[in-house]
Structures are given as structure tokens and as C-alpha cells.
């Protein structure tokens, strides 16, 4: 494989320092038909999320008396990548949908709406690494904007390792050339982990450092998400 030099003189391929996130752009309520929606982008990675419900789950035999369920789909637009992605679910998107669904479910008071479903969908319009992270952040904002009863927001970030340097928010090239990448999501005010995936090679010490780094950056995402939501309701930030 052609070795790409992704880190040079302490600078990353897009000019960032190792610990710097790409520019984040967030917009709420961009889809009028949805109960809540959001765009979340890290640089060129753009995720659009929409939330419908909680609404009655049909057919009836799928309903659960103990509480509602979440249905979630992560989907990449065919034009979002270099080589056209054939439409429809593939194994990767099925796995990611499961992982993100479980992360989001941690944040919702599902027991408050038996027999109902909360449908959350994400479309990746442009993919440049960390799409599952952008999806998770967008979905959580869409749910909050829809007024879904939640324990906390879900905040996510990717971290990784290239040439013994730990980095934050991997872009597509870094994702393909890193020694390790870790996707991480949490409920910041509960200090609970809801999303955790890693592939690559890490010692225990590196893994622990990456977890701390991920948590620290999730808190930054959290502040940003809160700011955007407060903006929607015209709430002044009193802090």
C-alpha cells in the first residue's frame, strides 16, 4: 500500500495540530417535516439527522409494553465518497446503525413511552472520516430539538494514533492510515460511556490516554451542542 505521510513536523495533512478538531458547523431544524432535525459537520464530513416521534409503533406485535424502542438508520449517500457507494444497506452501515442506535438509546427515557417508537435517521451527504461520530452528534441534537425526554445529550468524538502521536477528530485520509482509531461517545453529565469502538494497535497506556483525550473533547462538543440548543430557545448563556 502506498504510504501516505499523514503527519509532518507536527502538522496534519490538513494543517491541523494533533489535538485540534476540524471546524464544526451545527444547524438545527433544517427539515420542516421532521419533529426535530440537525446538521452536524466536522470539516468536510456532513451528517444530517431527523427525528420522528415518539409515535405509535406499528405493526402492533412489535410494540413493547415496558417502554418504547428506538429505530435508527445510518445511511451514506452514493455521492458522499470517492467511488460511488451503491445505495442501500451494506454490512458496515448495518453495524454502525446498531452501534449508534444503542448509544442514542442510553440517553432517552424510553420507559416513558410504551408501545411507541422513536425514529431517528441520519444521511451522510459528504464523507471525510468520523462519519459515525458526526451522525451521533447530529442525531442527539435532532432528538433534543424534537423535545424528546432525555437524560443527557450524547456527545461523540474520534481519537487515534499516528506515528506515536495521539490525534483528535480523524479525517478520511487519517482514518485509512492511522495505527489506531477509536470512536467514543458519552453522556457527559453522567460520566457514562455509550459508544466505544477501536481498531488498530494500542498498548494499555495508549488506550487509557486516548480515552481521557476523547472524554476531554466530548466535553467541548457538549458545550457546543448546549449552546446551539439554547440559541434555539433564545436562552441566554448565564455562565
Amino acid at each position: 500500500m502506498k504510504k501516505v505521510e499523514v503527519l509532518k513536523d507536527g502538522k496534519r495533512i490538513d494543517g491541523r495540530g494533533p489535538l485540534k478538531m476540524r471546524e464544526i458547523d451545527v444547524k438545527l431544524d433544517i427539515i420542516s417535516r421532521a419533529d426535530g432535525s440537525a446538521k452536524f459537520s466536522f470539516g468536510n464530513t456532513v451528517a444530517i439527522a431527523a427525528c420522528y416521534g415518539p409515535r405509535l409503533l406499528l405493526p402492533k406485535h412489535l410494540q413493547e409494553e415496558k417502554g418504547g424502542i428506538i429505530r435508527f438508520r445510518y445511511n451514506m449517500a452514493p455521492f458522499s465518497v470517492d467511488e460511488r457507494k451503491s445505495p442501500g444497506p451494506d454490512r458496515r452501515s448495518i453495524e454502525l446503525s446498531k452501534v449508534i442506535k444503542e448509544a442514542l438509546a442510553c440517553s432517552v427515557f424510553l420507559e416513558d413511552f410504551p408501545r411507541a417508537t422513536l425514529d431517528v435517521y441520519v444521511e451522510i451527504l459528504n464523507a471525510d472520516g468520523s462519519t459515525r461520530i458526526a451522525s451521533t452528534n447530529a442525531a442527539s441534537l435532532a432528538m433534543a430539538s424534537a423535545g424528546v425526554p432525555m437524560r443527557d445529550l450524547v456527545c461523540a468524538i474520534s481519537v487515534g494514533k499516528i506515528d506515536d502521536t495521539l490525534i483528535v477528530d480523524l479525517n478520511g485520509i487519517e482514518d485509512n492510515n492511522s495505527e489506531a482509531d477509536l470512536s467514543f461517545g458519552m453522556l457527559p453529565s453522567k460520566d457514562e460511556v455509550v459508544l466505544l469502538q477501536m481498531d488498530g494497535r494500542l498498548t494499555k497506556e495508549e488506550l487509557l490516554k486516548l480515552l481521557d483525550l476523547a472524554k476531554e473533547n466530548c466535553l467541548k462538543i457538549y458545550e457546543l451542542q448546549k449552546k446551539v440548543l439554547k440559541g434555539k430557545y433564545g436562552v441566554e448563556d448565564v455562565e
Binding site: D191, T203, L211
Partner: protein, 253 residues
């Protein structure tokens, strides 16, 4: 009913089968159980039974890695193995399991895939197929162990005039690492390993760790509900400790 009983027991620090929270069930690894496969293993964790078979096919390399063999891991949860499995294509659980094991094998670099080039545009495709025979809990660790055990006894067949002579072998598959998967499960404030199917029904969340013999982590996957940040760190230590026990089973084989 059963769930309530299991959960009350765990609350008291006990398990239905009398094991400690961090104790494996009896583990059995049988290599070379499938004659037609180039490599295979049958693995039992108590009543859980998984077979992994490895087939080698002459394949085209992936365009981004023209000088490496390819690896494909697939898992079948056939309806013989559990009242909850249904016929049809793999569901999200089977896909997730296969993909996590795929990442563990791939990222551990256990197979020297650059040695699997046959010729121009021709490489060995290593197909690991996981077949669940009985789901009595902890499929992830059992299927990963079966996959690695099968790769360890996989042989490369002879090629004559562009086709494979099945049953005649020229070499062993070049394998240089032995990763194992250890899944730590959370129920309330407790951590346990190797859950039975009854225990799995009340487990809140779990993290699977793929770990190499040099203690390098090569794959991690969390499933289920949330886990306190500090408990994740605790699980990392336990996973390292428990990986050694699993690997000694693999080595004893």
C-alpha cells in the same frame, strides 16, 4: 421468572452454575474438525458450541492493497442453534460479531498477508466462516477463539494450472500472532465474564476486547447500555488479565 432469579443470585455475588464472576466455563478447542476445509476448529464454552471453517480461494486483491492477500470473515447464526435465530441472511448481531472478529484478526496482523500473493492480480483469499451450533451465551469470545484456532491449523493448498488441488497442501498459512477476544459484561455495579444465555438476558452492557500475546489491544467494541467511564478502565485491566487464560488454552492445543 428465571431472569429475576439469575439477577437475585448475581446480586448476592453468585452465579447459577456456581462459577466466580471472572471464571470461564470449561473450554474445549478441537482443531481440524472439518475435512473439506483448509483449516477448522470446534470450540465449546460450556454448552456454547461454535465451529469456524477456513476456506482458501484464488482471489483478486483489493485495489488499495494489491500486494496482500484478502481476509473475509462471515458469521452464520443458523436456526438450529437457538430458539431466537431465524432463517435468512445474517442479522445485525451476526454482522456485528463477524465484523468485530474481522477487525481483531486484521488489526492484530496475525496473518502475514503480504506472503499470500500468488501472482499478478492473484492472491489468496482467506475466508473465515463462523457457524454457531449452540448459543448458550458468549458467542463473541467463543467465535473469536474458534476463528483464531482454525487459522492456526490452516494449510495452503497446491495450485496446478491455475486451479486449486484440494486436499494437497504446500505450506501452512503464515500466522505470527495469537489474538484472543475477552468480553466483559456489566450488570449494575458488577463485572462478569463468559455469561450463559440466561445471564445474557439481564446483562446491561458489555465490551469486547481483542488482545494480542504482547498485550496490544487490536479491537474493541462496546454493546448495550451505558457504562461508567471508570468501569471501562477497570474492564481494560480485567480483559488483559483474562486474555492470558484464554491464550493458554489456545497454546495448549
Amino acid at each position: 421468572m428465571l431472569s429475576k432469579y439469575v439477577s437475585e443470585l448475581l446480586e448476592k455475588g453468585e452465579r447459577m452454575d456456581g462459577r466466580d464472576f471472572l471464571e470461564w466455563r470449561e473450554i474445549e478447542i478441537l482443531p481440524n474438525v472439518i475435512k473439506k476445509a483448509e483449516g477448522s476448529a470446534s470450540v465449546r464454552f460450556g454448552r456454547t458450541h461454535v465451529i469456524a471453517g477456513v476456506k482458501l480461494e484464488i482471489s483478486k486483491p483489493f485495489p488499495d492493497n494489491p500486494n496482500e492477500g484478502i481476509l473475509i470473515v462471515n458469521a452464520e447464526f443458523p436456526p438450529i442453534a437457538s430458539p431466537f435465530f431465524e432463517p435468512g441472511p445474517p442479522d445485525e448481531k451476526a454482522i456485528e460479531l463477524a465484523r468485530v472478529i474481522d477487525r481483531m484478526i486484521r488489526e492484530s496482523k496475525m496473518i502475514e498477508s503480504e506472503k499470500l500473493v500468488i501472482g499478478e492480480e492473484k492472491v489468496w483469499g482467506v475466508f473465515v466462516d463462523i457457524h454457531v451450533m449452540n448459543d448458550a451465551g458468549n458467542l463473541m469470545d467463543a467465535a473469536a477463539l474458534a476463528s483464531v484456532a482454525a487459522l492456526l491449523n490452516t494449510k495452503i493448498p497446491k495450485i496446478e494450472e491455475e486451479s486449486i488441488l484440494r486436499g494437497e497442501y504446500i505450506d501452512k498459512l503464515p500466522v505470527v500472532h495469537k489474538p484472543v477476544m475477552v468480553t466483559l459484561c456489566k450488570i449494575k455495579d458488577k463485572i462478569l465474564i463468559d455469561p450463559t444465555n440466561d445471564e445474557e438476558e439481564i446483562i446491561e452492557s458489555k465490551i469486547s476486547f481483542g488482545i494480542r500475546e504482547d498485550n496490544v489491544f487490536c479491537a474493541i467494541q462496546k454493546q448495550g447500555k451505558s457504562i461508567p467511564f471508570n468501569m471501562v478502565k477497570q474492564m481494560i485491566d480485567l480483559a488483559l488479565e483474562k486474555s492470558k487464560e484464554l491464550r493458554s488454552k489456545l497454546n495448549a492445543n
